[in-house]
Symmetry: C2
């Protein structure tokens, strides 16, 4: 039977430029009486990764300063409404305000997205595997809106050790019929799962997801496999 | 510490018009040595609910028959590409091909979406609570694409006993700072979580999610609280 266990790792303090987040995570995990196992997925919020990578900039809180930051971090502005900009970031992500965290940060600063979240995930994974001796995978999560539905959900913006989109084309269900919905963005489903135990109001940046099926593990990149090309979508 | 346990309920056979899915679910749950607890969420795929409600129609497999079905189930067609129609259903859902299951069904039939998935969820919840004596919540899940990202994920199209969008506006994080991403579509995150243990290639239509925080529980409706109004989105 397929069964997951999902838990937050607590007791992690403020993260600053240069911090070794793998060691910080692992020490906190051990301190709460847990450990890593082969096949675990560790989810970390992009804000923590960005802070450890020094992606924190001065921000005076003004509307002009905000727009300037958003434009600097964007390849393109798709839509404007009030203070909201729907942007395409330099990574190719379509999200509000270039994914910049303008409110939930230290005074007079803003936190940008990591420059290359897939690379950040690979580094975090490598550090974790050396530290723990276990074969684990990693996702870096962020909070994005959706075009047609109210509310935000967490998605994966960086990945290491997982197949971002599980391709079931040509496979059949238990009755031998060919499946219709066949490319499943499992890393985004894992990010959403992690958010359920983290919660925006907590300061817990790390979650562990245990029990995912072996077919989820492999190689891939969010930018290569999950970001839809402009000529593929129906709205650009 | 926030911790989830998520598991599939197995051994459920084919569902037909008039089936009592609460009893079918509950018997299968007990048969695998589990039970329900107060605060559990039961996720069920929309296809099973639709079959039990008799939402199965003749379908000859032709392209013309497919388009006719899609148009019958749609309020509006937003985009056309090849055999794909991006539709607004009579419920207000924006999804591919009016959410009709055209392939993964019995021969020469198609499965439509439930007529009122929120009502279906309320009925399933009531039946489950009578059957189990436990205070549980319910989501009905379906598989939708996204505009900007490759791959599909599961979302909630019906709900009972949960707050669809958790409103954190005005709340602060552990450092006393006001949160930015403040309306979280938790029911869609729960649907995504359920899909990780179900899997499209299995025939398991039911999952149990245990351990969600008390703030997730309450009243609400997908159609009222989660479907974005046309004048609110940036692309209609």
């Amino acid at each position: 039977m397929s069964e997951l266990r999902v838990f937050a790792v607590t007791g992690v303090g403020a993260i600053v430029d240069g911090d070794d987040i793998a060691t910080i995570f692992y020490d906190a995990l051990i301190a709460q009486g847990e450990s890593l196992r082969d096949g675990d997925v560790v989810a970390v919020t992009s804000k923590i990764v960005a802070k450890a990578e020094g992606r924190v900039v001065a921000f005076d809180g003004s509307e002009g300063g905000k727009i300037a930051l958003i434009e600097q971090e964007s390849r393109r502005i798709l839509r404007r409404r009030g203070g909201l900009r729907l942007t395409e970031t330099h990574h190719g992500f379509i999200c509000a305000n270039a994914g910049i965290d303008l409110s939930n940060t230290d005074d007079n600063t803003a936190v940008l997205l990591p420059i290359d979240p897939d690379r950040s995930a690979r580094r975090f994974r490598g550090d974790l595997m050396r530290r723990s001796g276990r074969d684990v995978a990693v996702i870096i999560t962020d909070t994005f809106g959706r075009v047609w539905r109210q509310g935000v959900t967490d998605v994966a913006i960086g990945v290491a050790g997982l197949v971002p989109v599980l391709d079931l084309r040509g496979t059949t269900d238990a009755n031998g019929r060919v499946l219709e919905a066949t490319e499943v963005a499992v890393v985004d489903e894992i990010a959403a799962t992690a958010d359920l135990v983290l919660g925006k109001a907590s300061n817990n940046p790390f979650a562990v997801i245990r029990g995912l099926r072996p077919e989820f593990f492999g190689e891939g990149s969010i930018r290569e496999n999950l970001v839809r090309r402009a000529h593929d979508d129906l709205f650009r």
